[in-house]
């Protein structure tokens, strides 16, 4: 398995996309630190990158990578190797390279300029989102044989979690505004990894506003250790469930 991972990693490095991704993250983070002396504002700008660019790049790159290495996978399947081993090596190699790219890209400027208060939370949520969206990309890839279809599905996933879901949530909040909504909203947030990561960061960045009407409930919840464990385990579920589903499909799939 280790040797497999090594080959896949080598393959990923060879097409240089990861390097560009790292460089892009590094340059944008560095530029933000250069432009704004207030570190909390830098975190705000980086929030958008972490919540939108990181999931998008993760999911698209992983899908394309999967189809590009289709022949390699087919060849490996001809060898006496367990299918789950091949699949897991693919997942580990891709997620490790993506998260390394993210950590190096955003972490280095932070190390240079000093890690801001919410910096760790930002790195953690970026990492978790990378893992989640890589795993979703595998699901999109194994469902269909057609590359274009899979990319379309990956984009749809991204659109759904970044934009459509929030619109639905806003609609629900508006429609049911006469009812106590704290707990339903908590459940809704948990059902979207991007929202979960965003709320975890929100509690670090907009704490004064969140102390208002309903925010205190979330602060008590996410501010406590229990809340952090809860959020982390939900995010881990968001990694594990799509991965498990796609592995199940992959094992029985006629490639």
């Amino acid at each position: 398995m280790l040797r497999l991972i090594k080959y896949i990693l080598y393959d990923i490095l060879r097409n240089r996309f990861i390097l560009f991704y790292t460089l892009f993250l590094f340059l944008s983070t560095y530029a933000m630190f250069q432009l704004d002396s207030d570190t909390s504002k830098v975190i705000l700008s980086m929030l958008n990158i972490v919540l939108m660019v990181v999931p998008l790049v993760s999911i698209i790159f992983t899908t394309i990578h999967f189809y590009n290495s289709y022949e390699f996978i087919e060849m490996m399947l001809a060898q006496p190797i367990n299918r789950s081993v091949i699949f897991m090596s693919q997942y580990i190699a891709v997620s490790v390279s993506m998260s390394l790219g993210f950590f190096i890209g955003t972490g280095t400027p932070m190390l240079i300029y000093g890690i801001p208060d919410a910096g760790y939370a930002l790195l953690l949520s970026g990492f978790m989102l990378t893992m989640v969206f890589v795993s979703m990309a595998f699901l999109a890839s194994v469902i269909t044989r057609d590359k274009a279809k899979a990319i379309g599905m990956a984009l749809l996933f991204w659109f759904y979690f970044v934009l459509i879901y929030d619109a639905l949530m806003l609609w629900i909040v508006y429609t049911f505004s006469d009812y106590p909504l704290e707990k339903p909203i908590l459940a809704l947030i948990s059902a979207n990894p991007v929202d979960l990561a965003r709320v975890m960061l929100l509690l670090k960045l907009d704490i004064s506003a969140l102390m208002g009407f309903t925010g205190a409930f979330y602060r008590d919840f996410f501010g406590s250790n229990l809340g952090i464990y809860f959020a982390m385990s939900v995010l881990i579920l968001w990694v594990v469930i799509p991965l498990w589903l796609s592995m199940r499909i992959f094992r029985k799939k006629d490639l």
Binding site: D38, S40, K41, L44, L47, N48, L51, M52, V162, L163, D166, A167, M169, L170, V173, Y174, S177, L181, E182, I185, I189, V194, D195, R198, V199, L201, L202, L205, D206, I207, S208, A209, L210, M211, G212, F213, T214, G215, A216, Y218
Partner: protein, 421 residues
């Protein structure tokens, strides 16, 4: 005996020339703990212009009533303990001076406002350099004019609001000066009702259960250079006219009904060079008229200003807004106030003629703040991509935000504002 007589003479010479000039035969009394003549009897015996020195020790003397013009001074901070039962000092005389005494453990009552020092229909009282610990009400002035309360430390420890009184409580007073006090853990730090022509300066009012400063029907007052931090509901100024607020700091007042400053039915007042930082709501204005807000600093608040539509003719200018979640929010579309020449860190306009003033107006009310005003739980969607898009669209085509609420001449650079450091 002669040595101590000389000592007293020196003390008298240096500490109270004023009192002595008024009475040629002023006597001096000394009170020690466990002495034959106790504190209560001594104070009852002393007449106008006399001085009572209370020496170091712990006194459980019950309620003491002062009926004459006395100077009561502690030597090395004697402790007057109310034993959780009594009011400690009740003053019903003119020009009484209390200095350097540690008051402790007054009784609590829901019928009487028991206080460490209570002045009833007195005049010209001075309370200086005292420590008040675990008291129900701290210093309570009722119908007492021209008083000075300076450099006292007040701290209460009760868990619930009903077990607490106000730190410095003034009712129906004139010309009071409240200066350099530190108040912590009371219900209201400083409470003013029907108090006119008074000044509140350089006080620190922290972590009080309700308001750091509570102001009702008190006209022509000035409060400046105070710090109000982490109070349950911030500072409330209500039903008053001509209140002047300068150089104060309002910080970290967190909660759904917590305001850096709550202005309700205020008119003809001034709020200048104050600093509002890290509050859930910086200023909440309701029924406020003809008030000037100038050179204030609003930073890191949830809402910098909640301007209700019932406010009119207010002027907001030369203020700095930076790092607030929402700059201004309002509950109606009617705008009767002037918002001009402020610095907004969210302003994205340009300045082609380089005169330091942005060429396009700034709309401080974002669409999402209106949504949150209507449906508070929607706050959880803040900073999502959807909200970003909504705000952008609304900026271009205003639909639900009040169209006239705009700063025509936003400043490109933050103003250099000197607040209390």
């Amino acid at each position: 005996m002669t040595v101590s007589a000389q000592l007293y003479f020196l003390i008298v010479l240096f500490s109270l020339p004023g009192v002595f000039l008024t009475s040629a035969h002023a006597r001096i009394f000394h009170v020690y703990p466990n002495a034959k003549q106790n504190l209560q009897e001594t104070i009852a015996m002393a007449g106008d212009g006399d001085t009572v020195y209370i020496h170091q020790g712990h006194y459980f003397s019950g309620n003491i009533t002062v009926k004459n013009q006395l100077l009561i001074e502690g030597i090395d901070m004697p402790v007057l303990d109310g034993n959780l039962k009594d009011e400690i000092l009740t003053i019903a005389a003119r020009k009484v001076i209390i200095r350097g005494i540690h008051f402790k453990n007054t009784g609590r009552s829901s019928i009487n406002d028991l206080a460490a020092i209570k002045c009833l229909d007195a005049h010209g009282i001075r309370v200086e350099n005292c420590i008040l610990e675990n008291t129900f009400f701290g210093i309570y002035l009722s119908n007492t004019d021209s008083s000075v309360i300076r450099n006292n430390r007040l701290e209460a420890f009760a868990e619930n609001e009903y077990q607490l009184g106000n730190g410095i409580h003034l009712w129906k007073c004139k010309n009071a000066l409240i200066e350099e006090n530190e108040i912590k853990g009371h219900r209201d730090g400083i409470y003013f009702e029907f108090v006119t022509d008074s000044q509140i300066r350089d006080n620190i009012s922290n972590e009080n259960m309700r308001y750091g400063l509570h102001f009702m029907f008190s006209h022509d007052d000035v409060y400046e250079r105070n710090i109000f931090r982490k109070n349950g509901a911030g500072v409330a100024v209500m039903y008053s006219r001509r209140v002047h607020m300068y150089y104060n700091r309002f910080e970290d007042n967190w909660g759904s009904s917590s305001y850096g400053m709550l202005l309700k039915d205020i008119s003809d007042s001034e709020v200048i060079q104050n600093q509002f930082k890290g509050n859930t709501i910086g200023i909440f204005m309701e029924g406020t008229s003809r008030t000037l807000f100038e050179k204030n600093l609003f930073a890191m608040n949830g809402w910098a200003i909640k301007l209700q539509a019932s406010c009119d003719d207010n002027v907001l200018r030369y203020n700095n807004f930076s790092g607030n979640t929402f700059d201004i929010s309002t509950n109606g579309s009617l705008v009767l106030n002037t918002i001009d020449s402020n610095y907004w860190d969210r302003y994205q306009g340009y300045d082609l003629d380089r005169d330091g003033v942005g060429d396009i107006p700034f709309r401080p009310v974002s669409m999402f703040s209106i949504i949150v005003e209507r449906v508070p739980p929607a706050i959880m969607l803040w900073r999502s991509f959807l909200v970003f898009l909504l705000d952008k669209v609304e900026k271009i085509i205003p639909v639900i935000t009040p169209e006239n609420m705009q700063d025509q001449t936003p400043s490109m650079k933050p103003y250099d504002i000197h607040t209390r450091s």
